[in-house]
Homo-oligomer: 423 residues x 2
């Protein structure tokens, strides 16, 4: 992709109202723009990252056996009345009345909709379970104080999954399966996330974990057993001591505890049969007996993860995207606009793209200083500089944005092979 | 994918309230379920088709030079007041008031949001133009009479694109480029779409075309020069006589006119500078002069296209998906649940999937009659029957759902090669 054809307005100065790094850097690098209080537009570069995060989450949901569906954004009042949440959800929900004066709510979560989607076809059969449905859909929560860019927006993209099981034991297996899927997702995203046992709150239910990315600018206080960051067995990880507040009733406190600030990027609940019972979704067991399926629900904030990634991956000069979600894999900077440099840059760009590596070629007639500063700000994993001095010696300069590693590579047939290996 | 693991509840009987084929068949084949009046959920099979349509539209938008962005669904009242549409759009828009009593509208279209997204960074430079932004985002229009399933829903998925140019001549080139992209999209979808010159209506503007799929159940009357269905040069196709009502002021009426019913699946407008002027987005020309960019906007109803495809591609037994959007490329039906048939079926399924062809294996313990009827209803392009008689002769039976062509293929190493060629 040519930089001159990409709508990515970058800002040289820090925006005055941006308090945390992700907010500041996402604005400066031209990823997002504010549309209104807590409402954000995604520019092309931001949309590419958002898509990359959503893709990884989707792949892991499908890998875990979940099926992708889509519930409507606006949901009818009567459905929310039947679950009792029309009243209990309160001022956070955005409500509207349609032309027939019927109430609608911009779905902040979709337990009701998913139960109703199944109930429309009558009772489930036990052979159909476990059944896990998920969607990636926009949600709205009317935050009292939206802030920090897309970190705490009112409208946000969320992956929400819902499991249905014949009994609590089976539901706990689904819950553990989703817990494991979340660990895989965060690993692929390059995020160190601490699972924290959480209160079940307004959702109700039997069990709950939050997942927190550790970051100084996080809004939550997290106290945790440091093994939670490296434990790969989900059964063990689920039982490790971690809390938001230093208390964890009923769990033995480990010898060593670390404390940090955390950004909540995921939240899972073992719900019980509250929603299936309220809305009348039944399952017929192998013995012909009817019961209410036991549910779990599993949320990940897709748009918030983009901000959390920037919080976790940046330095004084800008963002340092992990390879798995970078908007482009590499950028090529011809430092001077002469034909030799542009031709070499185009050759590298085309060869990388042909090899399946997305590449941004800065073909603009701007100074080398601007190109280098904007490349640091945007933070694509590999920066390939085609400079006049290097080119005279038949060399290009390749820098890994994350590590700072710098290599000179001879221009020639092997060049792409070397770059491809690095990517 | 195993059919037993797929949540796709199929109905044997026609739903009483479904008036047209797509509504009936999408319900029966387990693609969609109604959530409330004009609000629909997409089940896994429907979601796969919706994604396939969206992917084709996205690829052609990017091929045409458009950049993907995302505007928020809820948009602030003051933005819509500045364009004058807070009042003019009327009862079709769904409005809400947030906790601070500020008005929000569930975006039925996004001219204001896209202009504002650009305006946030000051005046455009002429070198940045032409600039085309697009998104695939949910829209809400509070129809007086929602009906026909997702064909006329209140909440629907739309691709909307917005072009910005330095003057009207350049804007007409962008318009023609999008017109050509639409023709490519409909060709890839296997839809014969007639471009019809349309009134510019509430959007305002200089020029407009609708795209109609011809179908008996269409809600529009279309009169057109039959060359409009086969003309591949967009410059010629744009100028062909076609109307919704038999009138086409200022255009020479051709000798031959055909009349039909049409489903509107796309609508494009050359808008002029109404929105850029109202919202104050400027472009600085090569001479340093400021002016208001000339806009075009380009909509395609993604969710409606799914219904239009079913209207265009079905028979008495069910849907006949075009290969480009089918939820799976093939289905394998072991007619009896014995181990030989299941093993052969699994082998075919796995080999097709390994070759990149998505495949649904009906592994359920249900009668051959149910498997065959449901395969016809769902209408995947290729049906592969593994029956006891055929298997005894070392043969499987392959049927093309669209043409009815049937072939017997010997079980063996070449089998997948033959199937792959067919797909």
């Amino acid at each position: 992709m040519l930089r001159s054809k990409l709508h990515a307005p970058m800002l040289r100065e820090d925006p005055a109202d941006a308090e945390i790094a992700s907010h500041r850097l996402m604005l400066r690098a031209g990823l997002i723009r504010q549309s209104a209080n807590g409402l954000w537009s995604w520019l092309p570069l931001g949309k590419r990252v958002l898509d990359a995060v959503a893709r990884i989450v989707r792949e892991e949901m499908i890998h875990a056996g979940a099926e992708e569906v889509l519930a409507p954004i606006m949901q009818p009042e009567d459905l929310w009345r039947r679950s009792g949440r029309w009243d209990s959800f309160g001022a956070e929900t955005l409500r509207a009345r349609d032309r027939r004066d019927r109430g609608l709510v911009f779905s902040p979560t979709a337990e009701e909709a998913m139960v109703e989607l199944l109930r429309a076809d009558g009772a489930l059969g036990w052979r159909q379970l476990p059944l896990v449905l998920f969607q990636t859909q926009w949600k709205f929560r009317d935050e009292i104080r939206p802030r920090f860019g897309v970190m705490r927006a009112r409208e946000f993209l969320m992956k929400d999954a819902y499991s249905f099981d014949i009994d609590e034991a089976a539901a706990r297996r689904s819950y553990a399966g989703m817990f494991a899927a979340y660990a895989r997702i965060f690993r692929r995203l390059g995020l160190a996330a601490v699972p924290v046992r959480a209160a079940t709150g307004a959702m109700g239910g039997l069990e709950s974990h939050e997942f927190h990315v550790l970051a100084e600018t996080g809004e939550s206080a997290v106290a945790y057993d440091p093994r939670a960051l490296t434990e790969t067995d989900p059964a063990v990880a689920m039982g490790l001591w971690a809390s938001a507040d230093g208390e964890n009733p009923g769990m033995p406190r480990p010898e060593r505890i670390e404390t940090a600030r955390g950004i909540e990027i995921g939240h899972i609940f073992l719900l019980g049969d509250r929603y299936t019972r309220a809305l009348g979704l039944e399952v017929i067991g192998p013995d012909g007996q009817r019961s209410f399926p036991v549910m779990g629900c599993y949320g990940i904030g897709i748009s918030r993860i983009v901000a959390a990634l920037v919080e976790a991956c940046h330095d004084a000069r800008g963002i340092r995207w992990p390879r798995s979600v970078a908007p482009f894999a590499a950028t090529v900077l011809p430092l001077v606009p002469d034909e030799a440099a542009m031709s070499a840059a185009r050759q590298i760009h085309d060869a990388l793209e042909a090899g399946g590596h997305s590449c941004l070629l800065d073909d603009r007639d701007v100074s080398a200083g601007i190109k280098l500063a904007e490349a640091d700000l945007l933070g694509l994993p590999l920066r390939i500089v085609v400079g006049p001095k290097g080119l005279a010696r038949g060399r290009i300069e390749v820098t890994d944005r994350a590590t700072g590693d710098l290599r000179e590579i001879p221009v020639g047939a092997d060049m792409i092979q070397v770059l491809g290996d690095w990517l």
